[in-house]
């Protein structure tokens, strides 16, 4: 009794025009690239945690360093990529209220899909505002 032979398949190959010929290839790479920038965000925030542990002077030095034009530019770019990630992530999430799951939607939902996209994205934006209110001192 021998086990069935493995189906032989061709090795995967990149499609024509990969990476930049079509918008969906470009956006796919752009979406993956958000990870580089979000990792940078984590490192920048970790330096902030270290500065907090280092005392008041270290914290003020950290904020002053973040205030340099180069860091403001870097963090603006990091923010743009992070926003792109979050908005696209939320946009995928519009399929959850529509179909109960990610994937093909069996029936057309009673409300336009674009409107459903506002549900997860609206939730995200609400949380960002809450974080900003806490950091700004309006809450807690």
């Amino acid at each position: 009794m021998s086990s069935p032979a493995r189906t032989r398949t061709l090795p995967a190959r990149a499609p024509d025009g990969w990476i930049f010929r079509y918008s969906h290839y470009r956006n796919y790479i752009l979406f993956a690239a958000t990870s580089v920038f979000m990792a940078i965000a984590c490192v920048v925030l970790l330096f902030g945690v270290r500065a907090l542990a280092g005392g008041e002077q270290a914290w003020n030095d950290y904020l002053a360093a973040l205030g340099s034009p180069a860091m403001l530019l870097l963090n603006s770019v990091v923010l743009l990529f992070t926003l792109y990630f979050a908005l696209r992530f939320g946009w995928v999430g519009r399929k959850i209220p529509a179909g109960g799951k990610i994937g093909p939607i069996p029936l057309a939902p009673p409300v336009p899909m674009a409107l459903l996209g506002l549900v997860p994205i609206g939730g995200f934006v609400t949380l960002w505002i809450v974080v900003l209110l806490v950091l700004g001192g309006a809450i807690l």
Binding site: M38, C42, L132, G136, G137
Partner: protein, 115 residues
């Protein structure tokens, strides 16, 4: 190699959790800490004593550890698969990205618990 495949569900859960953590909280943190605070907008909100109080509270520590380390695992998994798509193979991107995420997680725990 086999281990990486066996642990795939774990990596995927960290990836998913990190996607949510980053979407929920990272833009707010970035705008507040990295852009508005250096520009002097949050002068009282993020003055040292208050910032330290927020970060070193129990909730603050859990929040920082969760957001930073989960986001790092998310990035690692995403970049691992980007490496695969770009033809860099399976092993090297996986070891490099998960290795960096592990280092980042240890650093996060160390720094946050030292507050």
């Amino acid at each position: 190699m086999n281990l990486i495949h066996k642990l795939e569900p774990l990596f995927w859960m960290l990836f998913g959790g990190g996607g949510f953590a980053a979407s929920f909280f990272l833009p707010g943190l970035l705008i507040g800490v990295c852009l508005l605070a250096p520009l002097g907008v949050f002068e009282s909100g993020l003055a040292y004593d208050r910032a330290y109080g927020l970060a070193s509270s129990g909730t603050g520590r859990v929040f920082l550890i969760a957001v930073i380390s989960l986001t790092l695992w998310h990035c690692a998994h995403h970049l691992r698969h980007l490496g695969l798509d770009l033809g860099l193979g399976t092993t090297v991107p996986a070891l490099a990205s998960y290795g960096l995420a592990l280092v980042g997680t240890v650093a996060t725990f160390t720094l946050v618990l030292a507050l």
